[in-house]
Symmetry: D2
Subunit: 329 residues, 4 copies
């Protein structure tokens, strides 16, 4: 495996000279600006520290994920989602799997806020196994979601499947890349260039390392506002719809500076398991929870069985808060 | 799949008459005494309730686990392990993966107790992938473990591989069936007849249902003192040594009356992950934690990387306590 | 789960009238032309046969894949890839993982043909875990691949990552959708509309059913020239890089009318296993093999360890031929 | 990981002197007789060749399986099962999952032989998920199996769950250790000492390496008559009941001198898939097939759906033979 050397440059230092110096022979070089710092990446790393007056810090990284690694950025990255600071306290994003209703929108949005949601989630474009299943309400769904945001004053998040739709997502504060597109690198790059914060779900068949490395695709476009989201992996186990990989949350908190989100709804598959699996995720270190809440779960057009009510959300938010305080002490 | 009908009989009622009445044609019948109650199992169930004066309660169970199911026993079973009541508060069992030291035994035992352990664990017989790897100290190890128990006044738990060794386990309060023997049904039956409490680890390749059903093997011998232990399953994921199946703990708490234990040490594989994975298990509902603690982890003959120190244990026990209180409220 | 009813219409019958008749209330209807037949899909199916003079054949399908199912089309679909009829005898597509060489192109192409290849494969756009790994030579690679096709007179296949690149793929006879984009439904739809034959690799984390259903995305755009390709799934097993799912090939042959391809190179991971895993795939029923062959495997920029030589290919092609004859008798 | 050094001694050389010379300090030594050769195992290996006149051959093995490895024994081991030489041509063992019938036994046995079976299989002790499911006919079943052997003149194989039953297995030519007991090392050791050939099924949750290493448990007791059997592993895939790990068969043939068997019936789960999965196994290199055949599959008390008829077996045996010849050329 290739080793990489990361250089963080001094405030006013220009990376071009250093890039030119290093980029000889078979050495590749990449200049980047992330978190207001000039960075330089060079690989394969010779293993020897480089002497140059513009360098503030340098390190060698022997991993398949570089930019998302804590090895060059020790402090936690806080991602600003429309004023909500993800990575500080536990952020709760809540709302319907897909927006399949048109009534009492504002009221539902207010209820979510009151119950403890900091961000409203809602699916408008839904990737489904079959082309003949309900695929979401598209732009109509996005319009409803934006109205929910306005009514409540909360930022909103929704999944994007195609960069051609980016303009329709104006007003959406956080762009979600779903599990099925986790390694759709073209989509990652194009959405990254838009500059908005991105929520990267782990592919249900992806390893921990592959998941971490998807963040590098976004960050290599100069966009450091990435939240990584564990949503359960495929295993032989039949206890739950997917197996929530708690260990990858804990390891991700150790090894990456990015905030980690957990989606307990998809692995749970049924309502009763959503609460314990949420608490479990927060205890493992999750900074954010993405939970499916529906005004009337039994009428939902997709994933009804795993959506909870606003009343459940209120209880959950309470428990999350006290749990976080308990393990902080 | 076959359906079963479970009958709980009235205090002084005899099950023989009912057994005779039901056990006709192709119907199988099994008489059992569990938790001081006379039970009767009949299958396949016709679906019709049976009318008989001796019946206090009856129900039809459509599952591959019957006796461990909450469907016939709603209240939580509390297992008495040498005076420690597993299933009430969170019980912590701590000690070395294998007993590979002979010095300062009593002192280490006292340290474990002081740090918050309620039960002392220690391996004497170790199943290893290769016959040439260290297989544990056998009876010598058991003797050391018993001394640790005596010194601290705590009950002890150790893994048993062969029912021929049962006499050597005299003085061991809780008998552990390991992951590799999870479906060694002959061992389960024979150890069950001994009557002592049994800790049943889930096989690393077993489904949730298979795990639950292993308890039925023990209970069908009339031994209801069973603790079910999740210890991580085999998946493609490389974040951790095994994938801790948090969902199966949560579902197990809903569906079984038996206490659920979690072993965070084996799935973690490294020290840093043991604490978050322990907290995660407790948040999911675990009643007991089985954690590897070594006087000197770096010198351990097996699994050194995943064993924590007594000092870590003390911190962990504190966090577990406050977490449990937080989510109880 | 929703049931679907598929109608195959008589030669000159118009489906509009039937569509109008059926598409009432909550019933959805889709008109399609596939394999020169007018089809109509209606769901949810009421379960009752529909009486209409234009219907030649109708059937109810209770599955998540409809169009790729053998339930409405009994005969094997033969896909014409630049004159090669995939689905008749075993088709061998061979060539480098990625085109990373520029010399002796024509000679290598002729060698591949002589060794038994019917189609030449070569990667120009490579999706890699890290954005800093070699991503293929892009259009330059495609140009080389086309030259190889011209020199040998064989059709060529290459992976497409982005529909924006479709024009660069002019001259490429078979468009491959890779494992990471297996559920990138936008890409599937857009490439399908191009009309060329498509090779659909199974996602490494996708179930059999999900894989089969990806073909429905292509076919619902009116493109029936689909080859399904099994390339190994993610499992806990460490014997090979991926676990080749032989059972899904066998089941796919039973349940789908589409040709099934196997990629033995990715699951094998090492050269020595490519030959037995190829033979194994053909014995399970595979119609096509996609095998990585490099002029100099040890110098390859990606997946060198699993690429075989032209000499190996010649032997392999011989064995494949005799094996197919043996099991045909 | 520990390295091992294996010494094969000259015909009349005594290993005691060498053992004494090597077994100093922390070096462990094991004397063994396998395949009529005196062996010595010493670990950890210093890496330096040992000079001693009694040594015919020595090698260092850096793996978790030693005795089953081809690194010290290049030639294929042929296991004699009651006169059938497993490891030469493809051996077919066929018969019912469990012996659940008592009529026309001799006739059925003759039919199996005529259809191409070389060994008759039949389960008498069945490990089942639930203690209340049919557990086999025990000694009665073994008696019927032996009668089938006598009637046909073929050797017989059956699964043993408990070494206490060894005497009941007198007359059984090949002792099978099932998937659930694959790492029941006490059973492996005790049955190994009996001296008869042993068929070792891979645990459904065991890695390739763990499977290979189970053979070392048998061989370390001086019993070299081991056949390794792949029977499908647990994965997320739902195409088949288990995922037949073709790659582990191919890799096992490269790395181990022991014969490899495949059980296509359990992974297939349904009749239609048994034939292609058998052929697939043979193409991957399997030396033996263990296939479930029932006089009346639809009446079978266990696994009826995956059992084939004698007529199917005859066709299968023909195909296996021609396939083997085809790939041999």
């Amino acid at each position: 495996m290739v080793k990489y050397r990361v250089f963080v440059l001094k405030g006013d230092a220009d990376s071009s000279e250093l890039a030119e110096k290093l980029g000889k022979g078979n050495v590749s070089v990449k200049k980047l600006k992330l978190y207001s710092r000039n960075l330089l990446l060079a690989w394969p790393d010779s293993g020897k520290p480089v002497d140059h007056p513009g360098i503030e810090f340098q390190t060698s990284i022997d991993s398949e994920f570089i930019l998302s690694s804590r090895e060059w950025k020790r402090d936690d990255t806080i991602v600003d989602v429309g004023g909500v600071h993800v990575g500080r306290d536990v952020t709760i994003a809540a709302g319907p799997c897909s927006i399949d209703f048109t009534e009492n929108i504002e009221e539902f949005a207010s209820q979510l806020k009151k119950a403890g949601a900091h961000i409203i989630r809602g699916g408008a474009y839904k990737p489904r196994t079959s082309p003949f299943s309900f695929q979401g309400k598209g732009t109509e769904g996005l319009d409803i979601l934006k109205k929910m945001g306005e009514a409540s004053g909360l930022p909103v998040v929704s999944e994007i499947l195609d960069s051609d739709n980016l303009k329709d997502f104006n007003g959406v504060d956080l762009l979600q890349i779903g599990s099925r597109n986790a390694q759709n690198f073209q989509l990652l790059r194009k959405v990254a260039r838009d500059g908005r914060p991105i929520l990267l779900k782990r592919g249900m068949g992806n390893t921990y390392t592959e998941w971490m490395a998807t963040a590098d695709y976004v960050m290599s476009e100069g966009n450091g506002s990435v939240i990584l989201c564990e949503r359960g992996i495929r295993t032989f186990d039949n206890a739950t719809r997917f197996t929530l990989d708690i260990g990858s949350i804990a390891r991700g908190k150790n090894e990456s500076h990015l905030p980690i989100c957990a989606d307990p709804s998809h692995p749970a598959g049924t309502r009763e398991l959503v609460i314990p699996m949420t608490l479990s995720s927060v205890a493992a270190g999750a900074d954010m929870i993405l939970v499916e809440v529906h005004p009337n779960p039994d009428l939902a057009l997709s994933d009804g069985k795993q959506q909870i009510t606003v009343r459940d959300l209120a209880k959950l938010a309470e428990s999350v808060k006290s749990l976080r305080q308990a393990i902080r002490v």
